[in-house]
Symmetry: C2
Subunit: 341 residues, 2 copies
């Protein structure tokens, strides 16, 4: 099945300098993929030309006259920029021309606009941001990563259901193992919302592991970890900061003196393999789940490698019919009760 994805080609810190080569790489990697680049026609034609490329049937251009600024208030972007590359890209999903949209632009504006245009699936209060993180063995999906800051127990359960359905669909897992992030694994631990959510998870048909603490995120024993968006965002950003600090310490230690520099030279292939393994670009692409359509956010400061990865995340979600599966299951959940999960 061919997949068509609309790209906000002007978004992110670097705009077309990143989105255009990312799009070209994705097209080469995936023969079933069609892309629509949305943005200033002149700028995009010039960016394509720099890569020796022109528009084609698989790579169409669609003009949009405005760009949402990275620091622009979401409400202002939503109300004031009806012809932004971001908005036009989302509209293409709404009208059915594309099945997914990818942007590395302003996160708040992207979430607000996608939610306004595409609407949440029936039974979902609010969409959530879900993303894969590397672990000691494989990877884990975690949500919410910042779309919802003060969450009720019911919302946390919806996140768990959406996360399990997404991982089940894209990784073809029968019963993904779902856990609730908490500050201890004993029953008595936890905030009120988390304790209530634990009871809801236990009563559901989810394959529920129970509580996990922050250090278990990276152990690789789980498929889905659920938390509110404040906690998830802090966990994700804290991890980014710590990884950068360790990388900085490594650089400092391996350049401290002539012997260390020599050691770095000898260890270079090993250090490169290590860097590849921890490369955050390989995990670019956070999905906004719970909407009528596939919506993927790429990191604002991403490069072409990361943006291409986000396109693949979107294409995989489309091919595995993630929004349709979540919509259908939630409808039968509503009609027949929680045993249908």
């Amino acid at each position: 099945m061919a997949v068509t994805i609309a790209l906000d080609a002007m978004g992110g810190d670097h705009g077309p300098a990143v989105t255009v080569p990312g799009a070209l790489a994705a097209l080469r990697a995936r023969p079933d993929l069609n892309l629509i680049l949305i943005g200033s026609q002149d700028i995009l034609l010039a960016a394509l030309a720099r890569h020796g490329a022109v528009p084609s049937e698989r790579l169409r251009l669609q003009h949009a006259s405005e760009v949402v600024g990275m620091d622009e208030p979401p409400a202002q972007a939503l109300r004031g920029k009806k012809d932004s590359s971001m908005r036009v890209a989302i509209n293409l999903v709404k009208s059915g021309v594309a099945q997914a949209v990818v942007s590395s632009g302003n996160t708040g504006a992207f979430m607000a606009t996608a939610r306004f245009v595409l609407k949440t699936l029936p039974g979902i209060d609010r969409p959530a941001i879900i993303k894969a993180l590397p672990t000691i063995h494989g990877h884990v999906h975690i949500l919410d990563l910042g779309a919802n800051l003060d969450c009720s127990a019911e919302q946390l359960l919806q996140f768990g259901i959406m996360g399990a359905l997404l991982v089940g669909a894209v990784e073809h897992k029968e019963r993904p193992l779902v856990a609730l992030l908490n500050v201890g694994v004993e029953d008595i631990k936890g905030s009120e919302a988390v304790k209530k959510a634990d009871a809801l998870f236990r009563a559901s048909a989810l394959n529920y592991h129970g509580y996990v603490e922050g250090d278990e995120i990276y152990l690789g024993k789980l498929d889905v970890i659920v938390c509110d968006g404040f906690v998830g965002n802090v966990a994700l950003k804290t991890s980014e900061g710590l990884a950068r600090m360790i990388s900085q310490f490594m650089k400092e230690e391996f350049t401290r003196n002539p012997f260390a520099k020599l050691a770095a030279l000898v260890a270079l292939p090993v250090l490169k393999a290590l860097r590849r393994r921890l490369d955050p670009r390989l995990y670019d692409g956070a999905s906004l789940v719970g909407l009528n359509g596939v919506v993927v956010k790429s990191h604002g400061g991403t490069d072409a490698v990361g943006f291409e990865k986000a396109i693949h995340v979107a294409a995989t979600a489309v091919q595995n019919r993630v929004p349709q599966i979540i919509g259908q299951r939630l409808a039968s959940l509503h009609d027949h009760g929680p045993h249908v999960l």
Copy 2:
């Protein structure tokens, strides 16, 4: 000024096998220090003998017949184990025999018992857990790390005040820079409690930086970072988990094949320097601030190096009169308003 510290010698995963050598090392490092080991007299005498040591004026023993289990419910330990090594150690602070207590035992029981016995300082609703973390430049103190899960804006302000006073006292800093942990740095971002706390911080006399995101924890631009205990605990544990994963990846890459093993051999001094720099034991010792007395928690799985570090954290807090300073400032804050900070 001589400092006397009561040690829960039976606590932690390893009990006297860790606490006794940790205590002996601290005594060697700090001539002004006196320690009281609390626990089973027979076991402690035997543990001392294994290190060729006997009780002395600087290292007294005090018998306690019970031990709080690492997984025992805090309420049960508080009500049922009046003669536990933990409880007796805390009592020695209450009675003025010791100025501080250090335990690597059951965190919940330690917090509950310390709070019950020592009471909070006037003007403090709840004590908070504060700890130093390494950063790219130096270190930062972060609180709360798990004593309070659902926090009001007023509590977050109290944490900020206590954190600033502690760092000011132990690091002799005039106006420590304090930030609120949030999911974005724009005004509109944040949970309700954090947004309200931001207004309180701005109205206070604290040297307030504003919001920071998780990745800024490790940048080393701040002295104190404030968050609720759920978020702080997740940030801390997530960091521990990620550091372990990176360390595991390094081990795997440096043993993958004969060339990698050779590279590891050449790079060994550099890798050792790196490991020393990231050694979590150097940051052992989390303080429970806001109580009448210095209360320091060492990591449950700590070894003698970490336990000794926690003793130093306690001794430094005593010498710099942290509880007295917090108590006095809070009293003048109450009498004269926030400009006295």
